[in-house]
């Protein structure tokens, strides 16, 4: 399916282009717009973006795959990311990951069968002082215990 921005996104894209002296610099902000619309960056979106910025699809590919936050395929409705870096591990990140695996019945790096959750592990998110922590979509959840995790997961549509 061919990719295109929504009307409102087109306006935002125009505004983004104005922020930089060269078009290509808008690539990251525009890929964020793509992901906001589709939830991931598809091959069609890569082609679209290459045309939009007058660069080759390989250039767009190279960038989209370098940055870990750009998804390359549709993920679950909610992306649950657990930090398993050093500081979080000192404060129970192993427990948290195990707890979520059991609770959601899914392995890290996989999506639940109902497509609701995608679970993954990430490197330090700057929450080391409030570990253990997870990020769900755009929000951080910190100083977690079982009760808090249950409440947060239950609150998601």
């Amino acid at each position: 399916m061919e990719f295109s921005f929504t009307k409102e996104q087109k306006e935002r894209a125009e505004e983004i282009l104005k922020r930089y002296p060269v078009k290509r610099a808008a690539l990251l902000p525009l890929l964020w717009l793509v992901q906001e619309k589709d939830g991931y960056v598809s091959d069609d979106a890569v082609k679209f973006m290459a045309g939009f910025l007058d660069i080759s699809p390989a250039d767009v590919w190279g960038v989209a795959t370098f940055y870990t936050m750009f998804e390359r395929k549709p993920a679950g409705r909610h992306h649950v990311q657990v930090c398993t870096n050093l500081c979080c591990r000192l404060k129970g990140a192993d427990w948290l990951l195990r707890y979520l695996k059991n609770k959601l019945n899914v392995e890290a790096g996989a999506t639940t069968s109902d497509g609701k959750f995608h679970l993954s592990t990430v490197e330090c998110l700057g929450s080391c002082g409030t570990a253990p922590m997870m990020q769900i979509d755009d929000d951080y959840h910190e100083e977690l215990d079982a009760e808090k995790v249950d409440r947060i997961i239950a609150g998601l549509k």
Partner: protein
């Protein structure tokens, strides 16, 4: 206690312009705009302020490297990429006092003659990015921020290496975030080939005080080589993790007792990483005899770095800790340089086999040799940022590493 960076942290709604202004935000600007740019640079030189992003380079001196009269625009780039394990201090400034950062941005722009500013946020700091944008909007509506400089907030998308300043520039330009070979240095040829100054969030947040009270007043705080105050974010095995402002030169023992609240259940302290995961680890004895200043941390066998302190008590396994650090660097290496790309992988592999009880005779020597081959041989200092922890962990906690090999398992 001197509070320069955190004075508003405890004030409710300190991120709103109304509240910030009532607490003195933007009060340095009258004085600033009456100053010639070179005088503002001079004031910062006098203050002795050193960059708070990790390298500790004198800020005023760096500003002085911007060539005059090139006819090219000058850029200010704000490093809000904060991704080094243990470091979460810039986040606190952005969340609690974004106007302090904006005031600092206006000061730096005036001093170096920048008419465009890009603030580079790590992609994960979405809420912090939003907070900055709404503070910026308020400041624009109140005409504190005018037409110039243009201030743009740019979001990264998940790559630690983009905190390295030249990788960050490539990232803003829409490329993969890989570091550039220097020279040319960014001050001469940086963003879009133009003179560029890159500064850390905390560095900029220190400027309003320096302009308002004068460089000399700032220089009176701290030690001879480490002027002023610094944020320390502390985590790991402590009772009160968090972000604290200290006068540089404070002893680590006092910091741990007074701010961090000691270790849980009064377990014995084993090790301290004082400045983010990339600096050498200190033994408990080194830490307890050391000071939180650039020279104090060096004397105690490490570096102040970003001020991200990670504390380990006796329950921690040092092999496991190093394995976690190695995993991080292996994941984040940009892969341009062979010693870094391959070295990070080797270190990770050896650490993991030690931890799994499959260590071999000679593994420690091998790790040290790999670290030697990484240090000082690459485009950026990322490779050193793993080599230094490796060397310090393996030599300072040699017994623990040897036990893993001898017993064929993790003894903890």
């Amino acid at each position: 206690m001197m509070k320069i960076l955190t004075k508003n942290f405890g004030v409710p709604d300190s991120h709103l312009l109304k509240v910030a202004r009532a607490n003195g935000a933007y009060s340095s600007l009258g004085k600033l705009f009456a100053m010639k740019p070179e005088d503002a640079v001079q004031e910062v030189k006098k203050s002795g302020l050193r960059g708070r992003g990790g390298a500790g380079f004198p800020t005023g001196t760096k500003w002085g490297f911007v060539p005059k009269g090139t006819g090219k625009p000058v850029y200010l780039v704000v490093n809000a990429d904060e991704s080094e394990p243990g470091t979460f201090k810039d986040r606190a400034i952005i969340e609690k006092d974004p106007h302090l950062l904006i005031e600092g941005i206006l000061i730096a722009s005036h001093a170096i003659g920048a008419d465009t500013v890009y603030v580079y946020f790590r992609g994960e700091y979405y809420r912090q990015w939003e907070r900055f944008l709404s503070a910026l909007k308020e400041a624009k509506e109140a005409r504190i921020v005018g037409e110039r400089p243009f201030i743009h907030a740019h979001r990264g998308a998940g790559a630690y290496i983009c905190g390295e300043e030249t990788a960050l520039l490539n990232s803003i330009e829409g490329y993969r975030g890989v570091p550039r070979i220097r020279p040319p240095f960014p001050a001469v040829s940086g963003l879009f080939g133009c003179p560029t100054i890159i500064n850390n969030v905390e560095t900029l947040a220190s400027l309003p005080y320096i302009i308002r009270e004068g460089g000399e007043a700032y220089a009176k705080i701290g030690t001879e080589k480490s002027r002023g105050t610094k944020l320390i974010s502390v985590c790991g095995h402590v009772n009160r993790p968090g972000v604290y402002e200290i006068e540089l030169g404070m002893s680590i023992a006092r910091f741990l007792a007074e701010h961090a609240g000691g270790t849980p259940e009064e377990r014995a302290l084993k090790a301290v990483v004082p400045g983010g995961s990339s600096v050498p680890v200190m033994t408990a004895a080194e830490a307890l005899g050391g000071c939180l200043s650039y020279e104090g941390c060096e004397k105690a066998g490490s570096m102040l770095g970003s001020g991200g302190m990670i504390v380990m008590d006796e329950s921690a396994c040092m092999v496991r800790c190093l394995a976690d650090i190695a995993k991080f660097y292996h994941h984040e290496s940009c892969g341009q340089c062979t010693p870094c790309r391959e070295g990070c992988g080797w270190i990770k592999k050896i650490c993991e086999r030690l931890e799994a009880g499959e260590g071999r005779e000679g593994d420690l020597e091998l790790m040290l040799a790999v670290a030697d081959n990484m240090q000082g041989k690459t485009i950026c200092v990322f490779a050193d940022a793993l080599a230094m922890p490796v060397k310090s962990f393996v030599t300072k906690f040699k017994d623990e590493f040897e036990e893993h090999i001898r017993f064929g398992r993790c003894p903890r």
